[in-house]
Amino acid sequence: MATGVELFDLVVIGAGPAGLSAAIEARRFGLSVAVLDEQRRVGGQIYRAIEESSPRRREVLGPDYAAGTKLAQDFASCGAVHVGGAAVWNVARDKTVSYLLDGGSKKIQGRCLVLASGAMERPFPVPGWTLPGVMGAGAAQILYKSSGAVPTEPVVLAGCGPLLFLLAQQYLDAGVKIKALIHTTGTGDYLRAASHVLGALRGWKDLSKGSQMLKKIRSHGVQTFAGASAFAIEGAEKAESIAFTHNGQRKRVQASLVLLHQGVVPNTQLSWSLRAEHRWDEQQLCWIPVTDACGQIEETGIYIAGDSRGIVGAKASASQGRLAGLAIARQLQAISPEKFKALEPAILEEIRAHTQIRPFLDTLYRPQDAHRIPTDDEVTVCRCEEVKAGQIKKYVEVGCLGPNQTKAFGRCGMGPCQGRLCGLTVTEIIASERKVSPQEVGYYRIRPPIKPITLGELASFG
């Protein structure tokens, strides 16, 4: 080992609900804990800027956001070390974590690790999605949480999922004008979701909350299009309008800002870089790392918690974080196996209660096939290296079997985002062309550094 490597019982990557909860739990049993996050302040994306947001902003963002205040306070007083502004670029199986901080590279080692890197918005590969003026709805929500920034001109929200409706409501509360809400959820989705009878019953509250939200959005005079499909953003150098099909007709709404959203997916860059096994989840249409019940990868002492282990939402993420913290306390013999067995069931029950609505939500807000697997060959799939859907289909035609091999044909997935924005699309295009499951097609081999690092930064290695 290099000298100057700080050693902790537990090193947590990610300061959202899962990471913070894991840290608090481990501290309860006396373990030494360090939490690293790319953001300077704790909260993750869901509770972004929770410690500094104004009362007005909290009111607009609602009680689900404000719930983060207590978590942040509990963390601040738990005695864990918080390293903000740390960009983790490598996690090794010996549980050494390399990260960039203030232009230098540092190392920290844990006897155990918790990876809690959360979720990211699902890529939305449609014509024109690379144009300036097109962003994620989640991205726009981050702009509001972190900077109080709101759209200047009437904005268009398009896609599906709870976050899209939530942002619409928050914008209306903040006095922002919404030009149109174009959502893809239609009658068929409601019928399919209703087949999850139990989930539908339990989800009734959320469903009626959703329809009340929609009602409110309409009552503000917002043009709403349900069951829309075949999105295309138009414009030469920037977004000027969005075209879509609604009730069998092609329609168009002018807008300088189009906010797209079709759910969130696990941010699996860390678990892939560790060569962990992943399985394709047909319900959530994404990769999920294979772990034991407490989130541990194999017998590594490396645990995953929260949305990076499969989308579960903020509450279940916090519970998973606590579960990982508890399991680590047992593994490091800070608590007895008996004590673990006494405390585990209550947390598992919490997770079950917070996630039972998932199958229903995943079905109701399932993103449309054509919004994940472009039918138009001209759609840019790899935004960094500008590889189009048609090119990937051609690669398959000449024998390309999986995402790694696309790199032999072109530069797909080789830009700075390292496949974060194209990986799922590439897997699904190849699977669709080969008529096999995404599981068989696989994913990119993710290699460190998982964040760009300059030679200068590397030279400062302690």
């Binding site: 300036p132 702009l143 006095g175 830009g415 974060r420």
Partner: protein, 114 residues
């Protein structure tokens, strides 16, 4: 060349009504911008009328922030002489010099395992 003077007429984003706080002065392609002191470079530029942050190395097409959380790398700009900084992860600082990034990122994404 981009027609920045036209672009700056309307920002995509603005500070919500009633917000007040300290400002700092940053420079984008030499143009001074007074922005809130506690926001990211990406937020500051989006609130100051900047529509295009960079052009792509392959086709030269215009790009701007997409994810605002550090995963998409669309918001890359040059900051104080250092290329390819993720502006959504960088806090503004008084006197900061920011340049639109044209073409190649200069990022070395080669494997560290070699």
């Amino acid at each position: 060349m981009h027609t920045e003077t036209q672009e700056t007429k309307i920002s995509l984003f603005m500070s919500e009504a009633g917000s007040q706080g300290k400002k700092v002065r940053i420079y984008f392609d030499g143009q001074p911008l007074d922005v809130p002191d506690d926001v990211s470079v990406a937020s500051a530029l989006l609130m100051s009328g900047v529509r295009t942050f960079r052009s792509t190395p392959v086709s030269g097409s215009a790009r701007a922030p997409y994810c605002m959380m550090g995963v998409c790398f669309e918001c890359l700009v040059e900051i104080d002489g250092r290329p390819s900084r993720q502006s959504c992860l960088t806090q503004v600082r008084d006197g900061m010099l920011i340049q639109r990034q044209e073409g190649a990122s200069g990022l070395n994404m080669q494997s560290a395992e070699n």
